[in-house]
Symmetry: C2
Subunit: 390 residues, 2 copies
Amino acid sequence: MQNFVFHIPTKVIFGRGTVSSIGPETAAWGSRCLLVHGRASSRRSGLLDRVSASLSDAGVEVFEHGGVRSNPVLSHVREGITLARQHRVEVIVAVGGGSVIDEAKAISAGSLVEHDVWKFFTGRRSIRKTLPLTTVLTLAAAGSEMNSGMVITNEETREKFGTGNQLLYPRTSILDPELTFTVPPDYTAYGAVDAVAHVLEFYMTSRDPDTPVQDRIMEGLIENAMEACDRCLADPCDYGGRAALMWTATLALNGLTAAGLGRVGFPMHMIEHSLSALYDVPHGAGLSAIIPGWLTWHSRRAPARVAGLCRRLFPFPDMERCSERELAARAITILRNWFGRINSPASLQELDIPAADIPKIARNAMALARVWRLGEYTPGIIEEILALCR
Amino acid sequence: MQNFVFHIPTKVIFGRGTVSSIGPETAAWGSRCLLVHGRASSRRSGLLDRVSASLSDAGVEVFEHGGVRSNPVLSHVREGITLARQHRVEVIVAVGGGSVIDEAKAISAGSLVEHDVWKFFTGRRSIRKTLPLTTVLTLAAAGSEMNSGMVITNEETREKFGTGNQLLYPRTSILDPELTFTVPPDYTAYGAVDAVAHVLEFYMTSRDPDTPVQDRIMEGLIENAMEACDRCLADPCDYGGRAALMWTATLALNGLTAAGLGRVGFPMHMIEHSLSALYDVPHGAGLSAIIPGWLTWHSRRAPARVAGLCRRLFPFPDMERCSERELAARAITILRNWFGRINSPASLQELDIPAADIPKIARNAMALARVWRLGEYTPGIIEEILALCR
């Protein structure tokens, strides 16, 4: 196990009927808030009204900044910063999924500095203070509700960069699984894939072979993401399934799995961010298209880790007679079949991305790696991986 | 899954060479500290000197309060409170295991009130403020380094009471596995048993049948406590084993496993506290003497949960042909055999406690339950359980 610091200041309030806590939780930090939200769905469902009412009841004045897109863009972040300054807000409230929360984080950091917020993403400036942030989560996927990272896309430069800072943890996040009953099947599946991918990134890129505490937690989270997703697709209003998927997705990227693994990479996300940027593919769909090929590449170099996944997650009677390569291949097949079952693409073909584009995707992924970590990957390795994603 | 609030403000600094962080981490909270520690071992090993030097280098003046016993006693807590007031300390530093940290918590709460600290334990007063606490952990067992509970024994009334409060979380805890290289085999084993017991309490007393995220985490922690203990006994200086045992014991009682289970009990600890109080048995030894009988009692009423433990932790080829009762019995046998292997008693007989004492132990356990939870247990049930611990 490698040395680590583990410190999650976020307070999670989880369960049915918890949305009404947003008022008091926010009022603890200020009396003027910027309410950041997405497109129509939280307005339509009445959630936004409930949040606004709770904030007003707690004596918090609300200024709205709606219209956050998935893959949130820099220009909209800048508009939010302008609003936050104009109304002298003291706290930010995010109502939405990872995109809304990421944009709210960027606004919370950008509102307190003279320079442009993008400098935080290019690494030219460091975050030294932020406005406090509270959140109401509406999608089980990204994990932003309990972590210190954010990803924003600069439309002008076509760069999708991420950064992290201890000050970006939300102060309170409200996780009510019932809010996700209306998430459609495709985005339910993509969210589960995102959680699986977050765990797999660290599981596969850790170079410390002696992390059994973290390994068992990670394997449990993958199993739960898959089983909970199946339950939610079978019955969108299965509370237990939605709750398991939500808590799993949160734990999958809150630092618990990575603590002790040492310097882990995030290479699959780098490659996927290129797919999203170049082909406007939903993040989870891009991830599931890459995972089988990426695991195949890893298992050709060192099958033990992927074989271990098979032994732990997909045991079968005669497995001790199989070679590690056979076990690894079996794990990949099971994951690929699961993607098929939940209707998430399992190859670049299924996304209609031609093989001829592979060098272009690899170049783009390398450019993204300026800030996010690609580990040992070179452009040649990325091309090899993408070739296996066909 | 039941509603929950999850909020652990403690910053954990984990790994080799981290003791030198205690100075700066403590200086963030004040410039005069009470250094609470145990008997001779941390002085003999030189740890206390390293901690004092780090504190002095960071500009923190040190006042010592040594001599904390295992099962820390109220009179010594009161002495610590007197010292803390006399020297107007602003922060408490604990160097030791769970007993030292628990006493430091009691001092941190008791120093700021006019009334006697015992009133917090009897429930007659609530904790409203505490002095900040930092810790250096020297034993993987209790989990106090990352939780909000404390247990103190009142020698006059022979009561061993526990209480909890969000303000009792240490601000920073330093976990260096190398500090546990010198822990002797018996206390290494008792620590692992304590971690297993903490997980089992919640695993068995949860009444929500749909908590798969928590179940997989709990099963992983039990597996890790057992395997890591075996490694530490085989080689006391196996860093990976010590690290796995330390992080497992911390996660076993920091709130992660219980979040979402609803109102869980702590009945096995209640019964064990009686054994400790009446026969001066080490806590871990008392727990391992009770676990097999306690699980047997549970599996006679509802074998599914204990059978699930067997399927998950101790799978074997033909298990699907076995009944739940058979699987439960097998899990209990495997645990009993493990206790034998690590030299921790697996029955009351091995502690030389006569059957005639069972009613007395049951009465004592019920008295303890005034503050700690016994769940559904009656004196009759406790006697039934103890009869199965023979």
